[in-house]
């Protein structure tokens, strides 16, 4: 079943996960405190079952549960996942209704997927107590299983179920060993909010998409063209003998918020020397280099360094990122949150600027100033948050 890009990616906000509220109804062999569960009593699969208080219906938002074991967990055998119908046991017991979609956390593979008691997937490798797990069901019923190794970084997709989920589910847990396994669990439902303004430009093709971009000679003449090189992208070359300024922008269509937006670009200060300047980010006007009244937030490069630059329609100012200007491609990210502009270079160097924040809506823009300067770009993404 095909999933929409709308559902996959551009959620404007991701709800915060909350602790699962566990139900005492039908509970056997478990205690719970907040999101933490503990197995009690004698060992045996037929002696443990517990379900969440809340239920989740496919098609009413993305269902996601996150969980892990708590502390050392070498000998335990904890099963956690989603089930439908009546709270059941994983193995034996009455009613015997093993979870429809679950992950088995024990001493075997790092990730073991069980569906209705049948092992559907084993990742190999060994599980670490710090590993975290995630099961999601999207609006079309596709069930995916993830692991975040050591509880750090991105969740890796391990298995996509061949069974399409439908109807209503609750979270179910079962465990074998008595008095040892514990786990923590959170859950969330993500509804699809109306998509906010977003655009992505990959600067690929025979010509610049001038249905979207306007090329603008703010001062003297400049060259605007696609680059016939591997990973070349698009360039603005200031080829005037004296001072000149060239820019691409949306021709005055300001769709991005000064107090809630993210701008990500991949660009290079191909030739920025002497008094040359590069600017890439958001603005509501042309000729940023002139420093006149406009709202602006983005990355500025001079011959010496990269800066986070903002303009509050009164004062144009910038703060160094601490990254020296070079001629390499870089990933620039700036985020406007209402009180500051947070800039990163290649995901690491972080600069927070709070002065002279923009005060009105803006649009994407790239600009170069002075003579014989050149700037290149191969990716531009902006979205409201």
């Amino acid at each position: 079943m095909t999933k929409s890009i709308y559902e996959q990616l551009p959620l404007s906000s991701i709800p915060t996960s909350s602790e699962v509220v566990w139900s005492d109804t039908g509970k056997v062999g478990f205690t719970h405190s907040g999101g933490t569960i503990t197995r009690t009593g004698s060992a045996g699969w037929g002696l443990s079952k517990m379900q969440s208080d809340k239920t989740f219906t496919v098609g009413e938002g993305i269902i996601q549960i996150d969980f892990s074991t708590l502390g050392a967990f070498a000998s335990g055998s904890l099963m956690l996942g989603l089930n439908s119908g009546t709270l059941g046991y994983y193995y034996s017991g009455t009613p015997y209704n093993p979870a429809d979609f679950s992950i088995y956390m024990a001493g075997g593979d790092q990730v073991e997927v069980y569906e209705n008691q049948v092992k559907k997937y084993g990742s190999g490798g060994g599980r670490n107590d710090a590993d975290k797990f995630r099961i999601t069901i999207d609006n079309s019923g596709i069930v995916r299983y993830f692991c975040q190794p050591l509880g750090q970084g991105l969740y890796d997709l391990h298995y996509t179920s061949t069974v399409i989920a439908s109807g209503t589910y609750f979270i179910q847990t079962n465990a074998y060993a008595g008095n040892s396994p514990s786990g923590i669990c959170s859950s969330s439902e993500q509804t699809l909010p109306p998509l906010k303004q977003r655009f992505v430009e990959t600067f690929s093709g025979g010509v610049l998409d001038t249905d979207r971009w306007e090329t603008k000679n703010n001062y003297s003449t400049n060259t605007f063209e696609m680059v016939d090189e591997i990973d070349g992208g698009f360039k603005i070359l200031n080829n005037a003998s004296g001072s000149a300024d060239g820019q691409i922008w949306f021709n005055g269509k300001d769709q991005f918020a000064h107090n809630g937006s993210v701008c990500i670009t991949v660009a290079k200060a191909h030739t920025i020397t002497g008094g040359g300047e590069m600017y890439i980010g958001l603005t509501n006007n042309t000729y940023i280099a002139s420093g006149s009244v406009k709202s602006t937030a983005g990355i500025r490069a001079t011959a010496s360094a990269f800066f986070v630059q903002t303009n509050d329609q009164t004062t144009n100012s910038w703060t160094t990122t601490g990254v020296s200007k070079d001629t390499d491609w870089h990933t620039f990210r700036t985020e406007l949150n209402g009180s500051s502009c947070v800039g990163t270079v290649d995901g690491t160097a972080t600069t927070t600027k709070t002065s002279n924040m923009p005060i009105s809506a803006m649009e994407p823009s790239m600009e170069i100033y002075d003579n014989a300067q050149e700037v290149r770009v191969r990716y531009f993404e902006v979205y409201n948050t």
Binding site: Q8, I14, Y155, V200, T202, G205, D228, I230, G233, T331
Partner: protein, 205 residues
């Protein structure tokens, strides 16, 4: 799983993203990023007014006519580390092709899938260098490629090229590998050949 940005779908922010584009072939007209390149005869390049139709790329009526789309010789993709994904359909008894290439008219330095004019022929993976093109057959016959849309993924590494169809690896080859930078392309060939394309994605790896 939701990602905050399209960028982070494919790369963390600590990795500088390489050239990467995708095209849905949706809209009133073909986007101007594409050159409508009539190699032989005069083709037509129309967005289909039908569900799932994509771009309808039609060769002229001549027996050797060839109509193509490309990036006007702006070549941003690597001959040794790149991937091309195409969702397309061909016409019975004609020829269709798609992939990445240096020069469409000469067919040099590229990697492409070719649907042949004989329906029982296998779909073939071609790579080319400066002098010749060599084919590797797949177990996927052209009549299947002509009957419905399928997903073709071609990728090239330093010494091998690959083709998978609908997620199953179908062909690997290592001779006649391109050495020059490439651009995306697709073509319809032979009298009135039609190729429907609804998705193309290329990226350097």
């Amino acid at each position: 799983m939701a990602f905050p940005s399209v960028y982070e779908m494919t790369n963390p922010l600590t990795t500088v993203r390489k050239q990467h584009f995708w095209e849905y072939f949706s809209g009133a007209t073909l986007n101007s990023r594409w050159r409508q390149n009539n190699i032989t005869g005069t083709g037509t390049y129309a967005l289909a007014d039908s569900v799932g139709g994509g771009l309808v790329l039609t060769a002229g009526a001549g027996g050797t006519d060839l109509a193509s789309i490309d990036f006007n010789d702006i070549r941003q993709f690597s001959p040794t580390a790149s991937t091309c994904v195409v969702v397309a359909k061909a016409t019975a008894s004609k020829q269709s092709s798609w992939g990445m290439i240096n020069t469409v008219s000469s067919g040099i330095h590229g990697i492409k899938t070719v649907i042949n004019s004989t329906n029982t022929d296998p779909v073939r993976l071609y790579t080319s260098n400066s002098s010749e093109t060599a084919a590797t057959a797949t177990s996927f016959v052209c009549s299947t490629a002509q009957a419905s849309f399928n997903t073709y993924k071609m990728w090239i590494e330093s010494s091998n090229a690959y083709l998978s169809i609908n997620g199953t690896l179908q062909a690997t080859k290592s001779n006649n590998m391109p050495t020059l930078k490439m651009q995306p392309f697709a073509y319809s060939r032979l009298s009135g050949a039609v190729t429907n394309i609804r998705y193309m994605e290329c990226y350097n790896t």
